[in-house]
Amino acid sequence: MPLKKGLPAKALFYPMVAIALAALPMIIRSNYWIGTVNLAIIYSIAVLGLNIILGLTGQLNIAQAAFWGIGAYTAALLNTRLGWPFWATFLVAPPTAAAFGVILGFPTLRLSGRYLAMATIGFGIIINLILHNWKEFTGGVDGIPGIGAPVLGPLKFSTNASFYYLALVCLILAALTQVRIKNSRMGRAFRAIKDNELAAELSGVDTFKYRVVAFALCSAYGGLAGQLFAHRTKYVSAETFFIDMSILFICMLMIGGAGSVAGSIVGASLLTFIPEWLRFLQGPWAMAIFGLAIVVIMIFMPTGLAGLVKSIGSKMVMRLWPDAHQEPAELPRKASH
């Protein structure tokens, strides 16, 4: 990374970001927009999960919405049927989603690339159809209403503004955990699998184990996002967790920049807000433009926003310090085909 010596700037940067984030509800004020920010945070967590499997490990998972849904339904059922509070579902929902991830991962992760993609599509659809049709358990089309707002001791997070702080803390923890994972032995194993699975295997990386672990982590993030979502909207129904959300999560990640933690969050936030900004255009218009934008972005920004920022950044460094050591902006690996 260039600009390692810019420590004073960095020391100022983080407190300023922290203040800005803490003051956000006071600045935005509109309840609706705070709600949208909360949604962006929830999506960011789900996309961070996807970043582990797709961005770091290079495996395509088109079922993140299903894991998101499993987390949400776990929280919803435990809360409404058994009266479990927020913190209890918080502890249970991500592992439940991860368990499903392992159940899906074990048999299918021996498949490679495109086959895995197809298997996850099938899994996502089956989960969705079960949520939709198993009336006794999941409420069927009616969904599950009446999920309690998060309560932690004396604090009640029932308004959008208060929920924002709770969600933000979860996002920061999720992001920091991911940074730790990325720079750990495990993270290096993930990247080795992405770069060249055969070479990784030959170098002694247990690729199958790490692929399952990556899958479990991805679905745990999805489960956490779902748990937050259930307690935020206080209502879950199967339509929300349909495959088009899985696809949207992938678009968020690709546009933000696969492999980048900041990129995942920026991508998720952008794709949450853009449809809102386009709302004046009436439903289908917004979605049509959105679809077109995805194609254009894929063509002109192959590494997503993170790659764009990185390459602009390194160009500026080149201009300022022509002899500075350069790391080229990381291009996604060409899939061996």
């Binding site: 021996r110 197809m118 194609v295 690996r333 061996s336 085909h337």
Partner: protein, 294 residues
């Protein structure tokens, strides 16, 4: 409930639906084989011509033959534009980038169709005046027979195209090894363009066959795309005979499962088959290998 007539009735309906899946799966498999992409907009290449067919036949009151020929012409343009915009600028990039790009195209086409054609489901007039013909006690809608016959004709045509013509050989060579094909003097880019156009025409034919028996909506493509994915996995991803057999298989099994097990979970069976095939025989009925080439 298990008598021969009922079974035959189900079998014919299953084969008809399966033939449609097979056509769409064929379009999907061709592009996978030729350029290694998973085309998520494959359903939209059925939905768009289906709407146009309805417009040509109802609003413009064209006779069937000119309308159908116009659809083929439209799909030639559709395939070419799709290749030039969605695939060509991204060639050589990782398959996930192209996949996301086809997702974008699918969203664009679905919502543009919603704007242009509206949200009301439409149905095109049928080619045949009678609802169904009685074959020894089995009532068969003639449209079903047309669908099954068309599939057979197309399979024969495609066999001839790929095995007996120079163009087909060039298409095969391009699919097998693009660089080698280029070295041999095959205009690879043009062959890929032709493959996209052919895949689009298959979508157009599926649309023509479907429009009289299926409600045409802007969302229909998605469901068909998913069934096509399941079909081509069942048959073996990228295998041409696999796509056809997989499509027929999914069509028939789905119908029998809906009839005898659960109609609510009708759509689940296709995906249970998909996962079961991936677990037991990931290369599908006809595929050769699963590990990615190193």
């Amino acid at each position: 409930m298990f008598d021969a007539t009922t079974l035959a009735q189900f079998l014919v309906s299953g084969l008809a639906m399966g033939s449609v899946y097979a056509l769409i799966a064929l379009s999907f498999a061709l592009l996978y084989k030729a350029v290694g992409i998973l085309n998520f907009a494959v359903g939209e290449s059925v939905m768009v011509p289906a709407f146009i067919v309805v417009i040509l036949l109802t609003a413009l009151k064209l006779p069937f033959l000119p309308a159908y020929l116009m659809i083929i012409a439209v799909m030639v343009v559709f395939g070419a534009v799709f290749q030039r915009t969605v695939y060509h600028p991204l060639r050589g990039r990782p398959f996930i980038s192209v996949l996301v790009s086809t997702i974008g195209a699918s969203l664009f086409l679905r919502n543009t169709s919603l704007l242009v054609f509206g949200a009301d489901p439409r149905v095109s007039p049928g080619l045949f005046p009678v609802q169904s013909v009685n074959f020894f006690g089995v009532f068969v809608p003639p449209q079903y027979l047309l669908i099954i016959t068309t599939l057979i004709v197309l399979v024969v045509f495609q066999y001839w195209l790929f095995e007996k013509t120079l163009l087909g050989k060039k298409m095969q060579a391009t699919a097998q090894d693009r660089d080698m094909a280029r070295l041999l003097g095959i205009p690879v880019d043009r062959i890929i363009l032709i493959t996209f156009i052919y895949a689009a025409i298959l979508g157009g034919i599926a649309a023509i066959l479907l429009a009289p028996i299926f409600y045409v909506t802007s969302d229909m493509g998605f469901m068909f795309a998913l069934k096509a994915f399941a079909s081509s996995i069942a048959g073996g991803l990228g295998s041409i005979p696999g796509a056809i057999v997989g499509g027929l298989f999914i069509g028939v099994v789905e119908l029998f499962c809906a009839a005898y097990i659960s109609a609510t979970y009708k759509d689940v069976f296709a995906f249970i088959i998909l996962i079961a095939v991936l677990l037991l025989r990931p290369q599908g009925f006809f595929g050769e290998k699963v590990a990615e080439k190193v």
